[in-house]
């Protein structure tokens, strides 16, 4: 399957073509940027969850009990 579809709205022309070298380089950069952002977000979420669990333990509450306390749904 070709990788890129290009459409011209004014003429109706449709072209299917492979990525140009520049587009391919950009795509690889996009993938690397996304992987880095995802890793950072997952690390931040894990740190936040660890802080939450530590806080609940200090308070002597389960996650369900805390949810009831603040009015949310576990």
């Amino acid at each position: 399957m070709e990788n890129v579809i290009e459409v011209w709205a004014d003429t109706g022309e449709v072209v299917e073509r492979p990525f140009t070298p520049e587009e391919l380089a950009q795509r690889e950069k996009d993938a690397a940027d996304y992987a880095a952002a995802l890793a950072a977000a997952e690390q931040a979420a894990a740190e936040r969850e660890a802080q939450r669990a530590a806080l609940l333990e200090r308070l002597g509450l389960t996650a369900d009990e805390f949810a009831v306390l603040v009015g949310g749904i576990a």
Partner: protein
């Protein structure tokens, strides 16, 4: 020359009824079943409609670029897209001018993601792409309003997506492309190395007045 015909049945051997109506023009009456002027008067005046279809494209592959869809005819545009991806991913956009994507770090966005009772939010800045939608190996749909892409102003996008038919969720992606440049096209592509499996994107122009 006037012709007088008695009785009923097809008229044959007559080249014209009078000097201003030709045989060909008479032929245009074939298929008419009611008064022509009444039909014309009843026809809607489409020149005053607020939404004008510009183009559509079938979605497949890794990237779909639409050229020359934004012009001085309209300030704002509506993009409707229903789609299926090969796997879970965001769908991004890049503004496009003269056949080239703008990959400068001028895209910023605010996201609101709602699934059941869980609401999460995210913000991004200095990105090389904008967020349009989110989907997976199931049908999703997004409605996006695009403001002033063809003017040398920041382009604003407001995109509402519904995704995941087994656990319906919605995601709102609102963003700016903060550069004072005019664009005539847009590129749409899934992230995470996913591809479009199926779907259609349609773009409409919104009348200025």
């Amino acid at each position: 020359m006037p012709v007088t015909i008695g009785g009923s049945g097809p008229i044959t051997g007559v080249t014209s009824i009078n000097t201003s109506v030709s045989d060909t023009e008479l032929g245009y009456l074939d298929g008419v079943t009611s008064a022509l002027q009444t039909q014309i008067n009843a026809k809607a005046d489409t020149s005053s409609l607020g939404l004008s279809f510009i183009t559509s494209a079938s979605l497949s592959g890794a990237s779909v670029s639409i050229n020359n869809c934004f012009s001085s005819l309209y300030a704002n545009y509506l993009l409707l897209m229903d789609f299926t991806l090969s796997g879970t991913a965001y769908v991004y956009y890049r503004m496009r001018a003269s056949g080239s994507d703008d990959t400068s770090t001028n895209y910023i966005r605010q996201e609101l993601d709602i699934g059941s009772t869980t609401v999460t939010a995210a913000r991004g800045s200095s990105a090389t792409n904008g967020f349009l939608s989110y989907g997976g190996a199931y049908r999703s749909a997004v409605r996006s309003t695009i403001y002033n892409p063809q003017l040398a102003l920041a382009t604003v996008t407001q995109s509402d997506t519904v995704y995941s038919p087994t656990s319906p969720s919605m995601i709102y992606e609102y963003g700016f492309h903060n550069v004072n440049t005019a664009y005539d096209g847009i590129t749409l592509y899934p992230g995470s190395s996913q591809t479009f499996s199926a779907g259609t994107v349609r773009i409409y122009g919104l009348r200025n007045s």
